[in-house]
């Protein structure tokens, strides 16, 4: 693998914690724990996980909205934190963010023109006619009509608002876009439009995506590689097709078999109530062990490391990874001829 564009090593974020005045350690929530990920230029890395798995915290650290408690993020070899200290705009020029809720990420009292002008002025130093020209260009890129510049956010539908959010991120001319559930708040028909746009933009501007979602099927259609997170850690990482055809971690298998597919096989559910471990008092071993049908004593001793499995770039944090193909897939469903 050539030098990755983004190299994340041992990234950790703990909320709270530290010691009180009397030196008694306070409980801390480990939102992200020792995450290692590499993203190559031009790649789309999907990050999947359920609520509370730390995927959004990870995203916020990448764009500088949050500061890691430990570990480092390197962008093309440069340390991100050092980069931020030298120039607070340097990071925003390289990595941008698209929010989940398109409407709440747009200031209700600002016109679209002012929203799009902010990154152009502050990050790219544009003004006057060049600024106006660039705004018009950005709107065109995301398929919005030029007269929208003088409107307010509440006049837009969810899909249009998300396009504006994407245009704002592109205004900074970044190399990497971190997309945090960018289509989750949208209707399926609009979701498909936005996904199509994202695909086109990636090719057009040579972008690298980090696509975060709880929706496996959306991540599958857009990503080349996928990392599955559970309780603050990456539990499995593999090329997209491989992850869906031969998932190794029991949690990934659970996710896949829980997702209802139109016309697909019946889903299977865990028999006992699925509860995440207490984040203030995490278990010493694998966080998934209490829910895992294959857990043994060794699983409860220490968190299993993310180790390479046979087969290109497949890693799983499991002592007893599943092997072989995953049985249920859409190829057996009753919806033929849709390709």
């Amino acid at each position: 693998m050539p030098e990755p564009l983004l190299d994340i090593t041992g990234l950790t974020r703990t909320f709270g914690g530290g010691r009180s005045l009397l030196g008694i350690p306070k409980p801390g929530v480990h939102a992200v724990q020792r995450v290692d990920l590499q993203v190559a230029r031009g790649e789309t890395l999907g990050i999947v996980g359920e609520s509370g798995c730390g995927k959004s915290t990870l995203a916020r650290m990448l764009v500088g909205l949050d500061t890691p408690s430990g570990g480092e993020i390197r962008f093309a070899g440069e340390d991100l934190q050092a980069m931020r200290r030298l120039d607070r705009h340097a990071l925003s020029r390289r990595i941008q963010y698209v929010f989940q809720d398109p409407l709440s990420s747009l200031n209700p009292r600002m016109r679209i023109r002012d929203i799009l002008a902010a990154p152009l002025k502050h990050l790219r130093g544009l003004s006057g006619r060049a600024l106006d020209a660039r705004i018009a260009e950005l709107l065109e890129v995301v398929n919005l009509r030029p007269e929208f510049v003088s409107r307010y956010p509440h006049e837009f539908s969810g899909g249009q608002a998300q396009r504006i959010g994407i245009a704002r991120a592109l205004a900074a001319e970044p190399d990497v876009l971190v997309l945090d559930e960018p289509v989750s708040a949208l209707d399926v028909s609009v979701q498909a439009q936005v996904l199509k746009l994202l695909r086109r933009l990636k090719a057009e501007f040579d972008l690298t995506y980090l696509f975060i979602s709880h929706d496996l099927s959306v991540v599958e259609t857009i990503s080349q590689r996928i990392a599955v997170m559970y309780f603050g850690r990456v539990v499995e990482e593999a090329p997209a097709r491989r992850l869906f055809s031969q998932p190794a971690h029991p949690y990934t298998r659970l996710l896949l078999s829980s997702a209802p597919v139109p016309g697909g096989p019946p889903i299977t559910a865990e028999s006992t109530a699925a509860e995440l471990p207490d984040p203030l008092d995490p278990p010493p071993g694998c966080a998934f062990a209490p829910r895992c049908p294959k857990a043994r004593d060794a699983c409860r001793q220490a968190p299993p490391p993310l180790e390479a499995l046979s087969g290109g770039g497949h890693r799983a944090a499991c002592l007893y990874p599943e092997r072989g193909a995953w049985q249920a897939s859409a190829s057996t469903t009753a919806t033929p001829g849709a390709s």
Partner: protein, 638 residues
């Protein structure tokens, strides 16, 4: 701005206050131009003249000064001091509030503890202390009153700022390269400005009173300067033999403050977004029913097969009347549900699926909702014709709802067990103890581990999945014949959703309950529903058995909607977007509502209403040329 003035003018009291205040302000402004007597010219020979005496319309005071002239000059002073003090307090207080709310943490702590200390003093004592240090005088009184009122602004503005500082658009501004100062001024200030204006409009009156109070005590305006408060103070000594000297300034203060407060309340109501959306108008206990004549497009849709229907909805129309616009959310929906059947109602947001579900038991908020036509036959009667007392007996009893977000439908301050007991005892003559026992049983039935302990917990102590189980337990409490589940798993994680869907399936098999399942997710539909009705623009466009409908949709909209959805395990299937947007509910086109987005559209699609027609087997479709079965090369037309 125009909308704001219009709203303000609609509030009669506020308009009255506004006009009165305008008159008073105008009067104060033109006072120097009026042919008035010199306000400070004394004339002891003419002292204490009653009102309407010669040359002195309102009489004279103890020094023989003209009261009318002093009143108008005093009004000027009081208004100026009150408004100036408010502006000073607003400026300093809002700045403190903005900074404290935005930066939070230590800054917030330091600033707000200072404000708390300021508030801990009785305000009049504080004002007195300030005047004592600075010496009496109008300017010093102004400072004192401004300082005393800073906490009021600081606290209000801080609250508003805190709620905005964590919104996503502030993060977005930061990523756009804006610094803190710029974010405060250009992003946050415009959003808290209404709060500042509201606070200002409700405090000006109070400030004028306080100024008058200080002057009354002799600490504000110094003689001989006229000021409403000092006039009142001087007149007080002659209240028995010359009541008009004190009464007239008192009346002036009353009118001034009342007009400001009436206007201030109006401004608050017009600016407050919560009040604007009608949060104060109490919704009726059931949706208003006002049947209008609708052209009936569909015949009554009979249940396929022999069994008689449990629920038969016939040509249901629900409108939202907002201002002069009528939004037709549900526009002639007919369907039926067999006993022990699960019917899925599928559609995108705005398709009318939830409004349909809520209309069945009159749960659409009125105003603005109106059921403008149709019938809901359930167990031999029309639910729409029931009075509120009879309807209450059906709600949560024979027909129960499960909502999307259990956190907002469960009462946060009541233990889940007690909420279940309430649901049980509303419809069944149970003792508290028996009801408790049944509640625990129900929690066990929805597979909540350790139900006895869970019953005594509050909703926030349960996870999202557990809360939804409680919601389902509550729906099951009175053995309903029909459960209406409105996106019950949309807010849940996929592994939890799997459990809830399995639970619903199992309960349906065990209890024989019918379910109307509202969702936007074809995957979920495919798991739980026997039949599916697809909605678009307030109408059902296609109905049929689930697997058949999913495999071979007949309506172009259904097919394109299914093709939009990415399919797990099939990454080569690129979701095909549907161009355009659904029509607005207040401007539905004639003919097929999907025509503008359909690639198979013909002129006759737009000519007149299109009925739901039987296509094949148990299937019906609202299309003049339904699609044939899918083939490997793509779909051909029928």
């Amino acid at each position: 701005m125009m909308a704001f003035l219009k709203l303000l003018a609609r509030n009669r009291l506020a308009a009255f206050g506004g006009i009165l205040l305008l008159a008073l302000v105008l009067l104060a402004l033109i006072t120097p131009l009026l042919p008035l007597l010199e306000p400070n010219a004394t004339n002891p020979a003419n002292r204490l003249q009653p009102p309407l005496s010669d040359g002195h319309w309102l009489g004279t005071d103890q020094l023989g000064r003209d009261i009318l002239s002093r009143l108008l000059w005093g009004l000027r002073v009081s208004l100026a001091v009150g408004i100036a003090a408010s502006l000073v307090a607003a400026l300093i207080g809002s700045t403190i509030g903005l900074v404290a709310g935005y930066f939070g943490g230590r800054t917030d702590n330091t600033l707000m503890r200072g404000i708390d200390m300021l508030m801990a003093f009785p305000y009049i004592l504080l004002a007195l202390a300030i005047v004592a240090v600075l010496g009496p005088g109008l300017m010093n009184a102004l400072y004192a009153i401004a300082i005393v009122n800073i906490p009021f602004f600081a606290r209000n503005i801080r609250g508003a700022t805190v709620s905005i500082a964590h919104r996503e658009f502030v993060d977005a501004a930061r990523l756009s390269g804006k610094g803190d100062l710029r974010i405060l001024v250009s992003e946050i200030l415009p959003n808290v400005l209404p709060v500042i204006v509201i606070t200002l409009s409700t405090t000006v009156g109070w400030m004028i009173l306080e100024t008058a109070g200080l002057s009354f005590l002799g600490l504000g305006a110094q003689p001989p300067q006229a000021d409403l408060g000092s006039m009142l103070g001087e007149g007080r000594r002659m209240i028995i033999n010359a009541p008009h000297v004190a009464t007239l300034p008192g009346l002036a203060i009353f009118l001034l403050v009342m007009s400001i407060n009436l206007l201030g309340d109006g401004v608050r109501d017009a600016l407050d977004p919560r009040l604007k959306s009608g949060a104060l108008s109490r919704p009726a206990p059931m949706t208003r029913l006002r049947r209008r004549q609708h052209v009936k497009v569909d015949d009554v849709v009979r249940v396929p097969g022999q069994a008689s229907a449990l629920l038969e909805v016939d040509d249901l129309h629900t409108d939202f009347e907002v201002g002069r616009e009528t939004y037709r959310a549900v526009n002639g929906v007919s369907f039926s549900l067999k006993p022990n059947e699960c019917l899925g109602l599928v559609g995108e947001s705005g398709s009318g699926k939830s409004v349909t579900a809520l209309s069945l038991l009159g749960l659409v908020a009125s105003p603005p909702g109106v059921i403008s036509g149709g019938h809901v036959h359930f167990q031999g009667r029309d639910l729409l014709d029931l009075g509120i007392r009879e309807l209450r007996r059906v709600r949560g009893n024979q027909v129960a709802y499960v909502f999307q977000d259990p956190l907002s439908t469960l009462h946060p301050l009541i233990k889940v067990g007690d909420q279940l007991i309430e649901a049980l005892r509303t419809h069944q003559p149970l003792s508290r103890q028996a009801a408790h026992q049944r509640a625990v049983e129900l929690l066990g039935q929805v597979r909540i581990p350790n139900p006895e302990r869970r019953a005594s917990q509050y909703p926030h102590e349960l996870s999202g999945g557990m809360r939804q189980r409680v919601g389902i337990a509550m729906a099951l409490a009175n053995d309903p014949q029909l459960i209406i589940a409105d996106e019950p798993t949309t807010a849940l994680d996929v592994t939890v959703q799997a459990q809830i869907l399995t639970l619903l399936k199992r309960l349906r098999e065990a209890q024989g309950t019918s379910v109307l399942f509202i969702t936007h997710d074809f995957g979920v539909v495919s798991q739980v529903c026997d039949r599916v009705a697809v909605m678009y623009a307030g109408r059902i466009v296609e109905v049929g058995p689930t697997q058949e409908l999913l495999a071979n949709p007949r309506h172009p909209y259904t097919r394109r909607l299914i093709d939009c959805v990415p399919r797990l395990g099939d990454p080569d299937h690129e979701p095909a977007a549907i161009p355009g947007l659904p029509p607005a509910a207040n401007a539905l086109p004639s003919g097929c509502a999907f025509a503008d987005r359909c690639d198979l559209v013909e002129p006759r699609c737009r000519e007149g209403e299109i009925a739901l027609i039987a296509s094949d087997g148990e299937r019906q479709v609202r299309c003049i040329k339904p699609l044939a079965n899918r083939t490997t090369t793509g779909a051909a037309h029928a």
